[in-house]
């Protein structure tokens, strides 16, 4: 059964690799539209990863260290994008930041239009990738426990010093693996991006969207670009597995989901 499970993942990748038009591989992935899409994907994924860190670190700290009513509810909501179809996430974002959306209406008055812009791509990627960072980091924070922090405090360290010199160094591996996974999830994001940001070359057409588009016209290009995404995903999984054991298992399961997001 284990072999069968492994095959289920490996076989399709191998089948795809077998269909690659190797002589044309380099020209196919270096075409102007491909490079534009790849560049946009890398830039937006980097931006959404940064946003995930900025928003996710405080969130993970609150979930792991504080106790307050509604904490379990908050955790469930943070995890929601993991189980939500990305298309649904995109629609939800559209009704929040779109022209007629909850916040979009007011932003529109300020002359800011979010939907169908590069910012929308970043927002969509952040939406789907945030849980990966929060889950990884919260796990690391819980493993590290509050006991080192308590000892640090009794030794005379201010809360800021405890955070900087004890908490952050202890959870750095968890934070790194969470960031890598968020990056991978952002890179593979398709459904929410298409719904919320559209597919405008150079502005919102990321690599997965480009692949989907090319499939209609140039199957060889689609396959070649897919292989590029697989390579990136494998690199990311390898990177997060290099982390310490305690985050290894969590990273493994979530990494599989991240790759799944890239091939949909």
């Amino acid at each position: 059964m284990a072999a069968l499970g492994g095959l289920l993942v490996l076989l399709p990748v191998a089948a795809m690799a077998a269909r690659v038009n190797w002589p044309q591989f380099i020209p196919l992935i270096t075409s102007e539209s491909s490079l534009t899409a790849l560049g946009l994907s890398l830039r937006t994924s980097a931006a959404s990863t940064a946003l995930c860190i900025i928003l996710g670190v405080p969130l993970a700290l609150v979930l792991a260290r504080a106790t307050f009513p509604g904490q379990r509810l908050l955790r469930s909501f943070v995890l929601l994008p993991l189980v939500l179809p990305p298309v649904v996430g995109g629609i939800a974002l559209l009704y929040t930041f779109g022209r007629q959306g909850l916040l979009g209406r007011n932003l529109e008055l300020l002359g800011i239009q979010v939907a169908f812009s590069t910012a929308a791509v970043v927002l969509a990627q952040t939406f789907v990738a945030l849980p990966f960072l929060v889950v990884s980091l919260e796990g690391a924070l819980r493993t590290a426990g509050g006991r080192y922090e308590a000892v640090a405090a009794t030794l005379g360290a201010r809360p800021g010093t405890v955070l900087r010199r004890v908490t952050v160094p202890l959870v750095l591996p968890g934070l790194a693996s969470g960031a890598v996974l968020s990056f991978a999830r952002g890179l593979g994001e398709f459904g929410a991006t298409l719904t919320f940001a559209g597919s405008l070359q150079g502005v919102t057409r990321t690599l997965p969207l480009e692949i989907y588009l090319q499939r209609e016209t140039d199957a060889d290009a689609a396959v070649a670009l897919s292989l590029v995404l697989v390579a990136v995903a494998v690199t990311v999984v390898a990177l997060s597995y290099r982390g310490p054991r305690r985050t290894g298992t969590a990273a493994g399961t979530t990494a599989a989901r991240a790759t799944g997001g890239g091939v949909q």
């Binding site: 006991r147 080192y148 308590a150 000892v151 640090a152 405090a153 009794t154 030794l155 005379g156 360290a157 201010r158 809360p159 010093t161 405890v162 010199r165 004890v166 160094p169 202890l170």
Partner: protein
């Protein structure tokens, strides 16, 4: 110039008052769940009590009594905590771990390191300075943890069973070290070990169910236990009941004849008052039939366990025990479940108010 605490934590049924003198070490003993760790957490500021107050050398740690409650954050209390596990920061070297306290107080890096080296030398761990905590043995790590706690220059050192996680070879070394460093220092040490209490502490406070049940100089408390817990620590048998003219009567109506502990309280007891009869297991003889002749106590018990105890056999019967020679045990053919008679000379039983 003392440490004074008076605190209640309702959710844990905890209500304790105590004081510790300037260079005094107090041992806290008590069964599991008695509130020993709660006590340290309240003092260190890691747990918020519901009522009470505490101060050390005039500095208020917390005061929840008045109309305006005050609360000093843990890092401003000067109450370094040494736990069962060393809890050295795994990402810092030994030297940086010890320098952590001074650094946190704003001491420049070089001076903090110099102080750290000095403290590492004091705990005989100078050669470990460059190592990571993962490269230390349990005993080494705990020695470094002692240096780290001392380097923070605490006004009150809190030790939560510092020897409990060490193997039997490392524990004596650390105990000797602690005896040195605690000599001129104010400290509270939680321990399960009578030896720690005798060697390291000036006074012992016994906690049971979140309350202080006994307190006093270590030797006195152990010599005159008033609770079954302390009697167990001191290796003595204890029977609780009410005082009579000749001894103690248990709730079940059994009479224990003994010597009233009269040196200090001649005639001071009131018959009917709660009291205890205490006697060492070595004063108990074991017979198969009832022995007669006064003044002796003789009563039937069911043997629950036999175990080696030094070069003797300890015969346990419920809460009571007797120490007899292996030869005597063999002669009597003792086995768990047998009914035998415990016989104790009245002269060997101390009786005093509880």
């Amino acid at each position: 110039m003392t440490f004074r605490l008076d605190a209640a934590v309702e959710a844990r049924g905890f209500d304790v008052s105590l004081t510790v003198g300037p260079a005094e070490t107090v041992a806290i003993m008590g069964p599991n769940g008695a509130g020993k760790s709660t006590l340290l957490a309240v003092i260190a500021g890691l747990l918020h009590p519901d009522a009470g107050g505490a101060e050390v050398d005039g500095k208020i740690l917390f005061d929840l009594a008045g109309g305006r409650p005050s609360w000093t954050a843990p890092h401003l209390r000067g109450t370094a905590l040494l736990a069962q596990e060393p809890l050295l920061f795994p990402h810092l070297t030994v030297l940086e771990n010890v320098a952590f306290g001074p650094r946190s107080k704003g001491v420049p890096r070089r001076e903090a390191r110099k102080a750290a080296r000095r403290w590492l030398g004091a705990v005989d761990a100078g050669e470990l300075a460059a190592r990571r905590p993962a490269e230390l043995s349990g005993g080494q790590a705990q020695r470094v943890a002692v240096a780290r706690a001392l380097a923070a220059d605490p006004q009150l050192l809190l030790l939560d069973e510092p020897m409990a996680a060490l193997d039997i070879h490392a524990a004596p070394l650390l105990r000797r070290l602690l005896k040195q460093v605690l000599a001129e220092r104010r400290a509270i040490i939680i321990t399960h070990d009578v030896l720690d209490a005798l060697m390291l502490a000036d006074r012992v406070i016994v906690l049971e169910d979140g309350r202080v049940t006994e307190a006093g100089p270590t030797r006195d408390v152990l010599q005159r236990p008033r609770s079954r817990f302390v009697a167990g620590l001191a290796g003595l048998n204890l029977v609780a009941g009410t005082l009579t003219e000749h001894g103690v009567r248990t709730a079940a109506g059994q009479e224990f004849a003994g010597q009233h502990d009269s040196a200090t309280e001649a005639g001071a007891f009131i018959p009917g008052q709660a009291g205890v009869a205490v006697f060492p297991p070595s004063a108990v003889s074991v017979f198969l039939t009832e022995a007669h002749g006064s003044p002796r106590n003789s009563f039937p018990v069911a043997v629950t366990d036999l175990e080696p105890h030094g070069d003797q056999i300890r015969v346990r019967a419920g809460d009571l025990s007797a120490d007899i020679t292996p030869a005597a045990s063999a002669d009597l053919g003792l086995a768990p479940g047998m009914t035998v008679f415990f016989v104790i000379k009245a002269g060997a039983v101390s009786v005093y108010p509880a």
